[in-house]
Assembly symmetry: C2
Homo-oligomer: 246 residues x 2
């Protein structure tokens, strides 16, 4: 007798992508979705003594189309989407290429960048089971500041400390002298337009509100900069964990 059990230990993305949208048609229905694109075709390794990520090889991403995470509030009217901060805090990442739960599949030690898609709901199409981007009616946005490097183990202590201080689920690892919660990352309104945004001047327009960390974001925001863990982070790229078990 033999039972084969496949397990995929999956991790959430933290901090999560949070955006605010503008200029949607109030009565039009939209889906809002997220995916994660490779930044380049390089594999990286972290050199501890110089505190830098160095290129360590090449990878061919071309044959993989990224998984789409549709925001659970979809579909919803433009009016409702614009009224709230849209949080992707339930996005789950895995490095298991065989994942069959629809989670976003990434390779460890590579650089990625999340994208947010605003998808106009065409009543003639059934988007309720949507798994890839439609050919029309999509506006996509991404932000340089949200680039991150995937890891299966943290490569430097500052990242670890920041995640322990900020993520409520890691409270058990906080310093005894500092176990009061720091709260969630404060929303940051940015009028810093990025290239993709230009095409959105018509139907919709997306502002960054609160983001996966990057050194730029942290160093620009005075409240965040007060915290040691965050100010230290200025020197380092953002990292995520992605694990899987067989």
């Amino acid at each position: 007798m033999c039972v084969i059990i496949l397990l995929a230990a999956i991790r959430r993305m933290f901090p999560s992508v949070r955006v605010k949208v503008r200029n949607l048609e109030p009565c039009q229905q939209y889906y809002i979705a997220m995916d994660v694109m490779p930044v380049d075709s390089k594999r990286y390794r972290y050199v501890y003594h110089s505190s830098q990520w160095m290129v360590a090889g090449n990878t061919d991403h071309s044959c993989i189309s990224p998984r789409l995470y549709v925001h659970p509030d979809s579909p919803c009217t433009g009016e409702t989407w614009m009224r709230q901060v849209i949080s992707f805090d339930r996005v789950k990442l895995t490095n298991n290429e065989m994942d069959d739960k629809g989670h976003i599949i990434l390779q460890s030690m590579h650089k990625y960048k999340p994208r947010v898609h605003v998808i106009r709901h065409d009543p003639r199409m059934d988007l309720s089971q949507i798994r890839s981007l439609p050919a029309e009616g999509v506006h996509s946005f991404s932000f340089l500041e949200t680039e991150f490097t995937t890891v299966t183990a943290y490569q430097n202590q500052q990242i670890t400390k920041l995640k322990i201080d900020r993520n409520p689920f890691a409270k058990g690892f906080r310093d005894p002298g500092r176990n009061r919660p720091l709260g969630s990352l404060p929303p940051l309104y940015s009028s810093h337009f990025l290239p993709d945004l230009a095409e959105a001047s018509g139907p919709c327009c997306l502002y960054r509100y609160s983001l996966p960390l990057s050194s730029q974001l942290v160093s620009r925001h005075p409240k965040l900069a007060e915290d040691t863990s965050d100010s230290l982070l200025r020197q380092f790229p953002w990292q995520l964990t992605a694990n899987h078990c067989l």
Copy 2:
């Protein structure tokens, strides 16, 4: 300095309403929703020595329109709805008339009956924030067996025992000799058509699958009847707790 905190201790419905639908148009979009209707305008009290609910007064329900719980998978295609057992296990009840969280408001010591609504999605209408039934395109179903009486404290031990044995969240109260889980209530396929169902011969048709308990349901199902708590239940009407705190 004075802070007013309003808390509403809300309870789920257990066992939850579970249904299966048939004869939907596979490619048509539907919302599926649930509400709870008063059975009559009587207030009841439980007479312990005769194990019966007796009329104990009158109540005017006429000015209250019931809250609608829209199934979180809505909207969805007929094909997808028909493929699954549709479970309303996250429905929450309260006796707090001031509830502002959209939960279903009931009065304690009254009799109620859940209804299930299959709502055809009209692309011209925005149903994403739906809070009451549309005038057209709705098919509604209810089942005599799912009548229940609301309470804030259980009125007899058999009901308590059944809920402790069946509800995973009450595991801590199980007998030490019987703390293995009994599993969820087995789905019961019934071709027992009820009056409302007649009108559904066209667009859609609903079969009862697994339900809030009633004596009839329990006594007819051989596997359930094996368990003491369930067989005892035959003599008693079903009860739910509904609490609120101020």
